[in-house]
């Protein structure tokens, strides 16, 4: 009986990962890359806020999220607020909310990746490396974290040698990214 339930749980997880993967590897334009977190029912206002977020109406979205926050303290809600602040380049605020999100869901690799971006913008490079690495450890197939880690080493730490393996891994997982080839050439040139 127990094995039967375990198998059902495993199938559900695989399905969820596939769906999530699809969302995180959406196109690079700004049309609105998102993720369906889980099957839980969201409050109507939450759904409304997401719609606002998709339309980059950050301030409105922010207010709606905060209005439901007292009764809906969910990791995803805090992650969305962090995204709003990240887009507004309010990295300090973004850091507060993404940390809240991680506190409620430590296995959330998406939040860990956002956390890494926030930390990088705050100049906390070592902590950013840690956050990206955690994201990868939670989900080894999450391409954003590989790319972000490679850019951090490449652009901000000026360590092309360390950046290269992550570009390669990214390329391996997201082969349709056209820029990656050029970047890898440049990195390899600098290594030489």
């Amino acid at each position: 009986m127990l094995n039967r339930f375990t198998k059902i749980g495993w199938l559900f997880t695989v399905t969820f990962v596939i769906l999530s993967y699809g969302c995180t590897t959406s196109p690079q334009d700004d049309s609105g890359v998102g993720v369906i977190s889980d099957s839980k029912e969201r409050p109507p206002k939450y759904i409304y806020a997401i719609e606002l977020l998709k339309r980059k109406q950050y301030d409105k979205a922010h207010d709606v999220f905060l209005s439901i926050e007292p009764n809906y303290q969910h990791a995803d809600l805090y992650a969305n607020i962090a995204i709003i602040y990240l887009n507004k380049k309010r990295y300090d605020k973004a850091k507060i909310y993404i940390e809240k999100s991680i506190a409620l869901d430590t296995n959330n690799y998406i939040s860990q990746n956002i956390y890494g971006v926030v930390l990088r913008n705050l100049g906390s490079f070592d902590e950013a490396i840690q956050a990206y690495s955690t994201s990868i450890s939670k989900n080894a197939g999450y391409t954003d974290a590989y790319l972000n880690l490679a850019i951090l080493y490449d652009v901000f730490i000026d360590s092309p040698k360390k950046a290269l393996p992550y570009y390669e891994k990214y390329k391996e997982l997201a082969s349709n990214d056209k820029n990656i080839e050029k970047w890898m050439v440049d990195v390899k040139r600098r290594i030489k």
Binding site: T24, I36, D144
Partner: protein, 921 residues
């Protein structure tokens, strides 16, 4: 017939004589029993014929006329004489005159009859009886001399007569009455031989003989014989060793008293009591003689002699069981004699000799001791009261001490006496009168509490006296309080009991024994019928005590009750105290039940409105509300208090709290306004300085830059130190002008900042940074100038000018970098990079020489590109360098801008952006 008649007479006589012969007329007293003889005669007669005494006498008279033989004649004469003398004696001693005369005639007849007998029978050896009867007859008809002659004849001629003793005694008496004491003495002495010792007359003879000696002033002899009598009385029990016994008859008592009096007189004539000892040293009854003599003196008002007599006995018989009585008599005699100054010393002596605990007590029996002890007790009282009465006169201290001594003596030995309590009280009064207050209090309290019946008067006297000794030590205070409390407990119905308890509570309160004071006054304030004055004081102490004990609820109630009964003068302070109690009660709830504390404080503020405490309560309520984050209500209360004149709270603190609330509410201007008040109240220059900085910050935070500027300008005028804040404030002013786009003013204030370094050889790091910032900003003005200089013909000239500007700029930016501050460094670095990039672009866009053809133009452009390119490369390198600074301080505006620039200049390398989800559904 005659013969028969004669025979009858003879027979009758024979019978009578026979009958008479059995009578014994041996003594004078026997003669006096004539009635019985007559009766006997009559009795005999009655056997034949009824006869009377007169008939019998008549019959004998008739017989004398008969011719009788000698024997009968002697009998008839003798009998006839006896009958006459007996009858005559009876008639004489009656009070009837006729009878006296008849009796006298009959006695004369009797004497004549006896004389006939003598004449007829002169040789009869028993005629001593006849002579005796004749002398008797003469005595009866009051012819003592004739009687004495016949008595003397009898004693001379009949020394062996049985009437000898009596006859001599009578002779002695005859002579004694005629003061022939010598001869009288001879007569008496003749019958003092041993053969008379057991006769009735013997003691009488001794008595008379003693008197004879006494009369002849032979007191020594007199005493010796009197004492013989006393010996007899003592042996017979008529006297004991001290007095005549009560069992003696009245006559005996009189006789004994007479003897004792004679002895006393003898001693007195011999010079007093000194001789008594000689005569009586072995006599057990010597006290009797001393006493007798003393009494004799007393009766003669010779009181001193009487006293000496008693003293004489006491001196020689200290342990006698009668000694104390004599001493009592001595004291009485002094009184009688009016020798008052001797009474007191004598009483002292009396007590010392015979009082409790002396040897004397052991030597007497219980009954006598009880008697003596009563006397001692009375004398002790006398002494104590005597000295007490004299304790106010001269020698008062000595007398007071003596009085105290005797009171204490009394209380030692007679503490169970009914009078002990009264005397104890008197002792206390004595001590009080002589200002010995502590001792007086001790005795008042003993009088009050140590006897069966408790004495409220004494207890109250003790209480009244406690303050007089002026003792303030702990033990004395405790005594004082205990005495008051004891009084109240013992005499709760006493009219002053409430006052006493009130005083006790006052003492307890003064001594900070608040629990006790509270307990005491609780009784009074809850008791019915306590008078208003006592109640008013009690409720006040009650409230004060409760307050000290932190029983604030009770204290508040107490103060309110006190308020209700107090005069106008006190009302304000009582209301204040009630308010304070209520306030403190609320304060106790601060930590445990802050909500209730707020309610209570609010009540205090409302009920006791107008008091200082009400304001304090309001203030504290606001403080508590603030702790509970109820700043809105707190603000309302604080604003209500803002304009009160109350000193019940720290006004400055009120403004601080308001400032805090406003800071919390981000109402910075309001907060700043409160800080302005705080600034004005603050005395400490350094604190004032900090507050001023704070005020300017707050105005600035609220966007009120003008007010902030005003404060900052004031600040830099007043506070040149510390240099950091001084320079920073000037820098802030420059920033204000920057934002206000008042370039002149901005430059002026930046210059002030920059010029600081001219006044100081060494500057703190913070100041260096600010100067660096100022430099940087000032450099930005030059940068614009640098940008505005276009490279025109002649290129050399314009380029030279631009390079000069560039050189100055680089110098300023280098200075900014040298400050070592991250933001300055990155900004300066970015600007340096931009200078090179601007120069590169300006070279490329420089004015071309006139007259160039296309080739020349192209050639010239290539040359320019060659000239410009190194500057662009230099700019890229510097931006890259700026990027690397992110490792040290993170990414700021200037690093981001360098990154943006590089993204454009080297997109493959730098135009890369992280990926992250744009939302989570």
């Amino acid at each position: 017939m005659n013969v028969i008649k004669h025979l009858v007479h003879v027979f009758l006589i024979a019978i009578i004589v026979q009958g008479c012969s059995s009578y014994k007329y041996n003594t004078i007293s026997d003669i006096e029993n004539i009635d019985s003889n007559v009766k006997q005669d009559l009795k005999v007669s009655l056997t034949s014929v009824p006869l009377t005494e007169d008939i019998v006498i008549g019959k004998y008279r008739d017989l004398l006329g008969e011719n009788l033989n000698i024997k009968n004649k002697k009998q008839v004469l003798k009998r006839y004489g006896d009958l006459l003398i007996d009858k005559g004696e009876r008639l004489i001693i009656s009070d009837n005159t006729i009878s006296y005369q008849t009796g006298k005639s009959m006695i004369i007849d009797a004497i004549d009859t006896f004389k006939i007998y003598i004449n007829k029978f002169s040789s009869d050896p028993k005629n001593d009886y006849i002579f005796y009867q004749i002398s008797r007859g003469y005595e009866l008809i009051e012819k003592p001399e004739l009687a004495y002659q016949y008595l003397t004849y009898l004693t001379d001629n009949y020394p062996g007569s049985k009437y000898y003793q009596e006859t001599q005694f009578r002779r002695g008496e005859f002579l004694f009455t005629r003061r022939h004491f010598s001869n009288s003495g001879i007569a008496y002495k003749s019958i003092l031989g041993d053969q008379y010792r057991h006769t009735n007359l013997y003691s009488k003879t001794i008595y008379k003989y003693a008197w004879v000696n006494f009369k002849q002033e032979k007191y020594d002899n007199a005493i010796n014989y009197f004492i013989k009598l006393v010996d007899g009385y003592y042996t017979d029990g008529k006297v004991n060793d001290y007095e005549i016994t009560q069992s003696s008859t009245k006559g005996e008592k009189a006789a004994v008293a007479d003897v004792l009096r004679a002895i006393s007189l003898s001693f007195s004539y011999m010079g007093g009591s000194e001789n008594i000892y000689i005569y009586t040293k072995n006599k057990e009854y010597s006290p009797l003689l001393y006493s007798s003599l003393a009494l004799l003196y007393k009766n003669k008002k010779r009181y001193v002699d009487s006293i000496n007599t008693y003293s004489g006995f006491i001196d020689k018989n200290k342990s006698s069981r009668h000694a104390y009585k004599f001493h009592q008599d001595i004291i009485s005699l002094y009184k009688l004699a009016g020798i008052n100054n001797a009474i007191i010393p004598e009483k002292v002596k009396f007590i010392n000799n015979f009082g409790p605990g002396t040897e004397y007590q052991k030597n007497i029996n219980k009954d006598e001791w009880d008697n003596l002890n009563k006397s001692i007790e009375n004398n002790v009282i006398d002494l104590a009261t005597y000295y007490h009465a004299n304790s106010k006169d001269k020698d008062k201290a000595i007398n007071a001490a003596k009085s105290e001594k005797w009171y204490r003596y009394y209380l030692t030995y007679y503490s169970d006496s009914p009078q002990a309590q009264k005397l104890n009280y008197k002792l206390a009064e004595l001590l009080n009168d002589t200002k010995q207050y502590v001792k007086a209090i001790n005795e008042y309290e003993k009088s009050a509490y140590q006897y069966t019946n408790k004495d409220s008067k004494a207890a109250y006297a003790a209480i009244s006296l406690y303050k007089k000794p002026k003792l303030n030590d702990h033990r004395w205070r405790n005594r004082l309080k205990n005495s008051h409390l004891k009084f109240f407990n013992e005499f709760s119905t006493h009219k002053y009991s409430d006052n006493v308890l009130l005083n006790a509570s006052q003492y307890q309160f003064d001594d900070k024994e608040y629990s006790d004071a509270f307990a005491s006054t609780s009784i009074l304030v809850n008791k019915n019928g306590v008078n208003k004055k006592v109640y008013s004081s009690a409720i006040l102490i009650y409230a004060h005590s409760a307050f000290e004990l932190e029983k604030y609820t009770e204290a508040e109630a107490g103060y309110n009750k006190a308020y209700a009964v107090s005069n106008k003068k006190l009302k304000k302070s009582l209301r204040d105290k009630a308010a304070a109690s209520a306030y403190l009660s609320a304060k106790n709830l601060f930590n445990t039940n802050p909500k209730q504390a707020i309610q209570e404080l609010t009540r205090v503020g409302s009920v006791y409105k107008g008091t200082e405490v009400a304001a304090t309560a309001g203030f504290d309520a606001a403080s508590l509300l603030m702790k509970q984050n109820n700043n809105r209500q707190a603000e309302s209360i604080l604003l209500g208090l803002k304009n009160t004149k109350s000193k019940g709270f720290d006004k400055k603190n009120l403004h601080e709290k308001l400032a805090f609330i406003y800071l919390n509410n981000q109402q910075y201007t309001k907060a700043a306004n409160e800080f302005v008040y705080i600034y004005n109240q603050e005395k400490n220059r350094e604190k004032k300085r900090e507050i001023m900085l704070n005020i300017s910050d707050l105005y600035k935070k609220d966007g009120n830059r003008e007010k902030a500027l005003k404060i900052q300008k004031e600040y830099v005028k007043v506070y040149k130190k510390p240099l950091n804040d001084y320079v920073d404030t000037m820098y802030e002013i420059s920033t204000y002008y920057k934002d206000a786009k008042q370039v002149k003013n901005e430059k002026q204030w930046l210059n002030k900042v920059i010029n600081i370094k001219k006044s100081y050889k060494k500057l703190p790091a913070g100041v260096k940074h600010t100067i660096a910032r100022a430099n940087l900003r000032y450099a930005n003005f030059d940068y614009k100038k640098f940008e505005s200089v276009k490279l025109k013909r002649p290129l050399k000239k314009s380029l030279s000018r631009k390079k000069k500007l560039m050189k100055d700029l680089l110098k300023k930016y280098d200075e900014a970098i040298s400050a070592g501050e991250f933001s300055l460094t990155t900004e300066a670095t970015f600007n340096i990079a931009n200078i090179y990039y601007t120069l590169s672009k300006d070279i490329l866009n420089s004015e071309r020489p006139k007259g160039l053809n296309d080739d020349e133009y192209e050639q010239y452009t290539i040359i320019l590109e060659d000239q410009a390119y190194p500057f662009e490369e230099k700019a890229i390198d510097i931006h890259k360098k700026n990027m690397t600074l992110a490792k040290k301080g993170g990414i700021n505006k200037w690093i981001s801008r360098s990154h943006d620039t590089l993204s454009k200049l080297q997109p493959v390398r730098y135009n890369k952006h992280e990926k992250f989800v744009h939302y989570v559904e």
